[in-house]
Symmetry: none
Subunit: 80 residues, 4 copies
DNA sequence: GTGGGTTTGTGGCACC
DNA sequence: GGTGCCACAAACCCAC
């Protein structure tokens, strides 16, 4: 990166800005999520509970996958 | 939420699914960010340092200076 | 913290060193864990599988607690 | 691990429990660290900065200098 | 202002 | 030996 004002600098700046752009979009989506929760709250629902529901629904998938992997390992260990 | 099988339940389900959809999009963007860093690394840049840069640019100039001043102070106190 | 060479400096140094001491102990325990896994491996067990077991046994407790909390919340929502 | 109900199973259980015990001790030490930081905060110190100090002291002087030099370079490239 | 939760960053580990 | 992955730990944010 000898050319501070040249090509490498442009590339570096490009990478930084691409990341920043993506992070902004993520932040916008996070704001959207927040809005949905606010709307749910305004409709009389308990936000905390909904968060738990979302977490559980996501976790269930993860657990299922892990369980399956573990089961496969056990099967092989036991020559089943 | 007296009507478990009725209107309220539908609304609740709607909120949950909207959140899940948004979270999926966020996950996709996180993957994109990861890709950008991988590309930067492949171009010879140091990923860890770029992360620091992004973090610094997100900070207010004032905060950045304050953090730095505080760190310098503690360093002097400890002869670091 | 006007007295760089005085009381405040001593306190700061004390805090830093207490943390460092605790972190060292943690590192020692991490090394012990590593040793146990090495011994298990030497006994013919699959380390990765044992890690999964430990994770599952820990996660089960967490899930159980969350499930219970969620159930309580549902009960209240439904006036049961 | 042919003898699921026998010797091998006992050994496996032993390994799992030893790891769990060690992880518990680690968790206790983590709690102690947290307490120290809380006490430091109560004495008027900035916790975040102390964490930085601890991190810096853990680093090799050479690595510390390299990180700093790299960050400075990137900063200059980006006119930060 | 404090605590809990979520998310991000970093380090270790396995695989290639 | 390098790279991708995963789990732990730290930082940030919100709610109370």
């Amino acid at each position: 990166m000898a050319e501070v004002g040249g090509i490498a600098a442009d590339r570096l700046r490009s990478f930084v800005e691409r990341v920043e752009r993506l992070e902004e979009e993520k932040a916008a989506l996070s704001a959207d999520v927040k809005d949905v929760y606010a709307e749910a709250k305004g409709s009389g629902f308990d936000v905390k509970t909904i968060r738990q529901i979302v977490r559980l629904r996501k976790m269930d998938q993860t657990d299922r996958d892990e369980q399956e992997a573990l089961l496969d390992l056990y099967k092989r260990v036991l020559d089943l």
